[in-house]
């Protein structure tokens, strides 16, 4: 028990950020290794993955590197400022597509294509990025400690309140049956005092699918 507490404390510390970065970058970078071998499993956004496939077949990486490199740098600079690193631009796109593209174009193909090496390369990239981000935080004046955090929690709660109704609107907009399903799910959840969002999504999918199978609606597919 005491060991668990120690571990939990460690992972709340500033330095443990490097551990999480090593983990995620290792996985994402090696994911691209899998993608090159099997054409599945890239963590990058769909559009960037399409760009990467294009580059892999033509051998011209300039577009991928230019696009993703800018994103990576911008996100690494922004991350320490706001306290949240955007893993979309920085890791999935930058580490998942940009850096493998860069290494491949420079001829270091084994670092990407060899699965074990790709895991290690990714981990090293993660640690380097973490060092840069933590370094920028050290330079930040004044420290952060709870500055305005309550205000941001308030903002998070506003978003939470909006989400359920928006899912309901989208479900009803898409198809009457998904709308009714979402309505049913949301009502059930609300009477059980849990957030309506889960019920709305599941209800829309289940009722929508059943209505489609029974031929009540085409859902705009194949009609």
């Amino acid at each position: 028990m005491e060991n668990t507490n120690k571990l939990e404390k460690f992972f709340m510390s500033e330095g443990a950020f490097a551990v999480f970065m090593a983990l995620i970058c290792s996985g994402v970078f090696a994911g691209t290794s899998i993608f090159i071998q099997y054409h599945t499993g890239s963590f990058s956004t769909t559009s960037v993955t399409v760009m990467l496939s294009e580059a892999l077949t033509t051998g011209s990486f300039a577009a991928v590197i230019g696009y993703t490199g800018g994103f990576l740098l911008a996100r690494v600079l922004e991350g320490p400022l706001v306290g949240i690193l955007d893993i979309g631009g920085a890791i999935m796109t930058g580490v998942g597509a940009g850096l493998p593209g860069l290494l491949l174009s420079m001829g270091y193909t084994s670092l990407v294509e060899n699965f074990i090496l790709s895991l290690l390369t990714g981990a090293v990239i993660g640690i380097v990025l973490a060092a840069v981000i933590l370094g920028i935080r050290k330079l930040m004046p004044g420290g952060y400690s709870s500055m305005g955090t309550d205000i941001m929690v308030g903002a998070g709660n506003i978003v939470g309140e909006w989400f359920g109704p928006i899912i309901l609107i989208m479900a009803a907009k898409f198809d009457i049956w998904t709308g009714l399903g979402a309505m049913l799910g949301a009502v059930l959840c609300h009477t059980k005092k849990s957030p309506i969002i889960g019920g709305a999504i599941l209800g829309a999918m289940i009722v929508g699918y059943i209505a489609f199978l029974l031929g009540f609606t085409t859902l705009g597919i194949g009609a």
């Binding site: 992972f11 090696a30 499993g41 800018g70 400022l81 890791i91 308030g154 957030p195 597919i221």
Partner: protein
């Protein structure tokens, strides 16, 4: 096939552990550095510690990710942005029976490794089995809703909070929010910075060392980000 399964488990476990642990740390930002995205934080807040809500929200994206992986080989960014954090949160909360457990990076890291390995292996091997109708329904409902949340609801929520928090919070959130929208494509980071700088100005005054340094620092960062994103 076995080779692909083993590699998927390794990659999914690693990336899942990192993403979920980083997501848990977002609840403690900016005190400690977290990672994920503001929208992930908002969406996790929306599910409010209810395991079923966390699970269903992630499930919607399992279907759309399956569509993406079959079509292009990309798991889609939703796997690490939404599926892994939401399901890890649901798993952690259900296992510990503690609604706040999704803010515990250690527990989330363990759940994330399990969820990541399972989801990535499933998507890499079995995604083709999901009925395309289910994928379409999820995509047509959840994706546009998520897009609306990303902009304008998320920045508006931060903006309203900043305007309500005080004179300087509102002023700086407005200035940085507009700049962030045009430079980064979303106003949220600007509004967050506005709240941070506004708090500093309100606490210690305009001419305090901390306020001057922070405003200067933010200015330099904005210029650099604008440069790297090719804005001039």
């Amino acid at each position: 096939m076995l080779d692909l399964v083993i590699k998927s488990i390794i990659v999914g476990g690693l990336a899942g552990a990192g993403a979920a642990g980083g997501a848990a740390r977002m609840f403690h930002a900016p005190g400690i550095q977290g990672m994920g995205a503001f929208r992930t934080l908002g969406e996790m807040n929306a599910c409010n510690g209810d395991p079923i809500a966390h699970f269903s929200y992630g499930l919607g994206f399992l279907f759309s990710s399956a569509g993406s992986v079959v079509g292009t080989g990309s798991l889609s960014s939703d796997v690490l942005h939404r599926l892994v954090p939401q399901w890890s949160a649901g798993l952690t909360i259900a296992a510990s029976k503690d609604k706040t457990a999704s803010g515990n990076p250690f527990k989330m890291m363990i759940s994330g490794a399990v969820v990541g390995a399972a989801v990535v292996t499933f998507l890499n091997t079995l995604a083709g089995l999901i009925p395309s109708t289910m994928a379409t329904i999820a995509e047509k409902i959840v994706s546009p809703a998520a897009e609306l949340i990303l902009s304008p609801i998320l920045p508006v929520a931060f903006w309203i909070s900043a305007l309500g928090a005080g004179k300087w919070h509102g002023v700086f959130a407005t200035v940085f929010g507009v700049l962030a929208q045009s430079i980064m494509g979303n106003a949220t980071p600007g509004c967050v910075l506005g709240i941070l700088v506004g708090q500093s100005v309100q606490d210690e005054g305009f001419t305090s060392k901390r306020s001057i340094l922070m405003i200067g620092f933010v200015t330099v960062m904005f210029l650099l980000i604008a440069y790297f994103r090719g804005k001039f």
